[in-house]
Amino acid sequence: MTGGVNSFQVSGYGPERSGWTRLLARDSVARRLDWPILLSAMALSLLGTLLVYSATRNRTELNQGDQYFFLIRHLLNTGIGLALMAGTIWLGHRGLRTAVPVLYGFSLLLILLVLTPLGSTINGAHSWIKLPGGFSLQPSEFVKVTIILGMAMLLAARVDAGDRQYPDHRTVLQALGLAAVPMLIVMLMPDLGSVMVMVIIVLGVLLASGASNRWVFGLLGAGTLGAVTVWQIGVLDEYQINRFAAFANPELDPAGVGYNTNQARIAIGSGGLTGSGLFHGSQTTGQFVPEQQTDFVFTVAGEELGFVGGGLIILLLGVVLWRACRIARETTDLYGTVVAAGIVAWFAFQTFENVGMTLGIMPVTGLPLPFVSYGGSSMFAVWIAVGLLQSIRVQRPMSA
């Protein structure tokens, strides 16, 4: 073991112990990891692999003739995600605290790059950077992480230092400013779904930081006002308005804008209790649901695995969120609490929005389902978030 490993051994004294002993020791990293989160996230990723495979094995125009194309890549993404989680644990959320300005600056640079000719448009959103080798990057996913880290750093700095009990107005203002810059850029892409997630993250972070109620309610009011203004002055693209209209009235033009939601609901509804069986869904096999491997991946579960499978996904995500809430509550420093709470807000809203739109209770936006949807950037970001949660748990003092 190198010194680096020692750096996150909180109780780093005592005699040198063998590897196994250290792994199984009460204070070892392995023992202190939050296994329910890790196992649930793993289960979701692997279930996602099957669902993505089911959705894409027939889509020859997407999988370039290789039915395992998406299966292999999803597994690969999961593997990289696990590695990123391990790296994050190794660095530790506190260790990263010093690097936050650099990370934040780097993520800003990436999303600015999207606006340059390097960026590319996929499905109406100009939010991608094409990388050599057929890969592409969606920097807004990483911005979610850096916003959480950046805001938490600012808000918790003076509280954790013991100067104040709650963040003061100036700090809150700074933190909001820090979040607003990337959010504005993402809005320009335009990637409304990500902006919505970021708004919720900001709310969650503020709430957990102990900032004054005035800020929380003020922000809620401002958010509502902003949404109405955006709607009224027509900043939104037509497709975005149509989606909301289709949400309000799903029977509206079932062949046009309402098509996605209609087909998604038919797919899920036809699943019944146990579904048609993996790879046997007619809606999935017949490719009636667009974007089924990414944003509408939940419909595969709904159709082929039924209420049992869909319920399992919600349950597993529930386990992740529940444990994350516990981590937020049990950690001792505000920085850790705020980071965990930001992640909870992120995962919770993204899950609710993604599953909710397939069930027809939320308007359609292009947001992936954490761990399950196909997509590298999203997968990496959520696993980094899991790494942060694990780090917060690992580094908190033993409750004994």
Binding site: E61, L334, T337, P397
Partner: protein, 748 residues
């Protein structure tokens, strides 16, 4: 233990974290609840919608069976035509509603873009023809006469013609072999109506939207057998309509073939001779009206005397049954059904009724015997018969002195029958009828099958009428108001009649029964009824239900269901009476009223029997009737406003017999030239591959017969077998949805 202050655990933060946790939990519960609602509560409805989504039906219409003549010659079959159709649903998905595609299509088909546009528009109150009045989801046929080259152009450049298909389809065809038209007997097809679809929905033979249904004639009578059963294949398809699996397949069952007793050659000759006779009649001057005969309609029936099977049945005026194929045009429809059309759709052999005149006399003859009169008599054949102040004249006012009933038939002496009928009327109580009158003359007519349908296997046969006491009463009840309003004691002839009818039209008057005895007055018969009666006299007394259908043979020839002749009774006469009448009718042909038409007939080899009739109809010219039979056939012909029985119809009937037996004008019988010296006994063979072996029919047997008259050494008809194959069953009705949704992506 730690150098880190527990800043994360201050109470406000803890409370807010609990709030967050509760919020998260409620969001997840919302999702779970909604999932339960969609999948468990509404699951069945969505499952149904999903199956409607991904299952597409491909309907293969069954090929309609052919209608064959007795030797297997197709009177109605199908031909494969290349049909170019446009799918409206696909066209409407295009930004310009498919205008561009239709314009390109018009170029390929050599039509104007306007013509094509008009074909695909939907009919409504404001849209004049041409327009499409079928289902908007059904491919709309633009032309059924595409050349293979045009079809190839459309198919090879499918990407240029989205929504356009060019496929071979079976289309009904009435080939008129040997120019035999047979229109009214065959009938016609027209598209199925919504009502019929609904009605047949849950039966074992439901209709398809694209189905054609038999509307008259054999096409209607045997519609069920001819139609077959459409095949339905259910495919699972993806969002682009690509087939990803087959759910169910129900192959199409082609319709059965109907073999009829019609002989196309005899049919042609019957039609030709009827038409010639009517043309000739129109050249004849009618002394009574001072104009030429109108000969506005006519019919002829050639029947197998021993079975009641119809060998030929012609009705004039006629029409081209192919006018109905592919949808009848408004102009054609008006020509066939309009007021000035003279109603060519009517089959006058079964739907035309008129007073029979003297061919009726076999009935009062039998009635007199049944009433107790002797055949030999003698009965006084005076030139006229007085009744009250009225004088009933013999035809052409000729007297023959005391004669037998047989001789009365031969010379068609009216006064003999007047007297007998009047006597019976008096016996029944005269003006004050008994409670249970014998009514021999009327009862016998009913026993001969008059006043009701013969039961022929053709739809909408009419009954004719026996003007008996019951009918008189009913008729009077229905009309007395009008009669009493218009009738005048000293008015015109019509007004006087109305006046009399108003007073005593409910009663059988002496004059009525006298008129009735010679087939005049209110008596109405159809040609098919008279053919049935004369066939029965020929065959010894069995009244057969006339039939056109002889057998139903499955498309592969494996199942043959013969249609057996059925009888609806016996003639009410003894064998002896029948023989005497038979003898008398032979006398008609040899020395009586029809003798001049059968000069040189080989009577010793083919005994001919005949009865002429000339019926008078008030306000019209006389109806010509001619009823004849040999031991195998009976032929009845009638021409409305055509003149006398033997005069107008005689030569035509003689010519039909000549053709049947191969008799030349001078009486020689040439067996080789005989078309059908004995009725066809065997059924044509349908091979397992659906082909039918049938002899070749000469181009026009009627013309050949005319030619033979001039050239007695003309060779006999070559009997080369020809084969007619059914069309290929490739006419699929693929209602595929071509969605463009595959390219739709979800913006993120």
């Amino acid at each position: 233990m730690t150098n880190i202050p527990e800043t994360g655990r201050n109470p406000r933060v803890q409370i807010r974290l609990v709030v967050i946790q509760v919020l998260v939990l409620s969001l997840l519960l919302t999702l779970g609840g909604r999932l339960w609602y969609l999948q468990i509560r509404e699951g069945a409805a969505y499952a149904k919608e999903a199956s409607g989504n991904h299952v597409q039906q491909v309907v293969q219409p069954a090929v309609r069976g052919s209608i064959l003549d007795a030797r297997g010659v197709a009177l109605a079959d199908n031909e494969t035509r290349l049909v170019v159709s446009a799918s409206r649903t696909d066209l409407l998905k295009m930004p310009d509603d498919g205008k561009d595609v239709l314009t390109k299509l018009a170029g390929v088909l050599g039509m104007t873009p306007k013509e094509v546009q008009e074909k695909v528009r939907l009919c409504d109150a404001k849209t004049p023809q041409p327009c499409w009045n079928g289902s908007p989801y059904q491919p709309i046929p633009i032309t059924d006469e595409a050349t293979p080259k045009q079809a190839l152009q459309i198919r090879e450049r499918a990407e240029d013609f989205p929504g356009i298909t060019a496929e071979p389809e079976a289309v009904r065809r009435y080939p008129s072999p040997g120019k035999a038209n047979t229109a009214q007997v065959l009938g016609y097809l027209s598209p199925v109506t919504d009502e019929e679809i609904k009605k047949a929905q849950n039966t074992n033979s439901p209709y398809l939207r694209s189905d054609q249904v038999g509307r008259s004639g054999l096409e209607r009578q045997y519609d069920k057998q001819l139609r077959g059963k459409a095949g339905v294949t259910r495919y699972e398809v993806d969002n682009l309509g690509r087939v990803i699996g087959q759910a169910e397949a129900d192959p199409a069952q082609p319709g059965d073939n109907l073999v009829t007793s019609i002989d196309a050659r005899v049919q042609r000759i019957a039609e030709y001779q009827l038409n010639e006779a009517m043309k000739e009649a129109r050249r004849q001057h009618d002394r009574n009206t001072g104009t030429n005969y109108k000969a506005d309609s006519g019919a002829v029936v050639v029947m197998e005397a021993k079975t009641g099977r119809v060998v030929a049945m012609a009705s004039n005026p006629n029409y081209d049954p192919n006018a109905w194929v592919g949808g009848i045009s408004a102009k054609d429809y008006a020509r066939l059904t309009g007021k000035s059309s003279n109603y060519p759709l009517l089959n006058r052999a079964i739907q035309g009724q008129s007073a029979p005149g003297s061919i009726f006399k076999v009935i009062p003859t039998a009635a007199a015997i049944n009433a107790g009169y002797s055949f030999d008599g003698p009965y006084q054949c005076s030139s006229s018969y007085s009744l009250g102040g009225q004088v009933f004249k013999n035809f052409e006012s000729k007297g023959y002195g005391p004669i037998s009933l047989g001789r009365a038939l031969e010379v068609s002496c009216d006064t003999v029958f007047y007297r007998l009928s009047h006597e019976e009327w008096k016996k029944d109580g005269g003006g004050k009828p008994k409670k249970h009158p014998n009514d021999w003359f009327y009862k016998t007519a009913h026993q001969f099958g008059l006043g009701k349908e013969t039961g022929i296997d053709l739809p909408n046969e009419v009954t004719g009428r026996v003007p008996d006491r019951k009918w008189k009463l009913d008729y009077w009840k229905a009309n007395k108001d009008a009669w009493c309003r218009t009738g005048k004691r000293n008015g015109s002839y019509a007004e006087k009649i109305a006046y009399e009818n108003c007073l005593e039209g409910n009663r059988m008057r002496a004059g009525d029964s006298v008129n009735y005895s010679i087939g005049q007055g209110d008596t109405l018969v159809t040609p098919i009824q008279m053919a049935t009666i004369y066939s029965a006299i020929s065959n010894g007394g069995t009244l057969y239900n006339p039939s056109v259908g002889k057998a139903v043979i499955s498309a592969d020839g494996r199942t043959v269901t013969p249609i057996k002749p059925r009888s609806h009774g016996k003639l009410p006469m003894t064998r002896q009476t029948r023989d005497r009448i038979d003898e008398a009718l032979e006398g008609v042909a040899t020395r009586g009223t029809a003798a001049w038409r059968f000069g040189g007939w080989p009577q010793d080899k083919i005994p001919m029997h005949a009865k002429t009739g000339t019926a008078e109809v008030y306000g019209k010219q006389t109806t010509s009737w001619f009823a004849t039979y040999t031991k195998d056939y009976s032929i009845v012909m009638t021409i409305s406003q055509g003149g006398t029985g033997s005069g107008a119809s005689g030569p035509a009937v003689r010519n039909i017999y000549n053709a049947l037996y191969g008799v030349s004008e001078d009486g020689d019988i040439d067996a080789k030239k005989a078309l059908l010296p004995t009725p066809e006994k065997t059924l044509p063979k349908v091979k397992t591959d659906g082909t039918i072996a049938s002899p070749k029919v000469p181009k026009d047997p009627a013309k050949d017969q005319q030619a033979k008259k001039k050239d007695p050494n003309a060779p006999a008809d070559p009997l080369q077998p020809a084969t007619s194959a059914p069309p290929s069953p490739e006419n699929r009705d693929t209602r595929r949805r071509r969605r463009r949704r595959g390219s739709r992506r979800l913006p993120t």
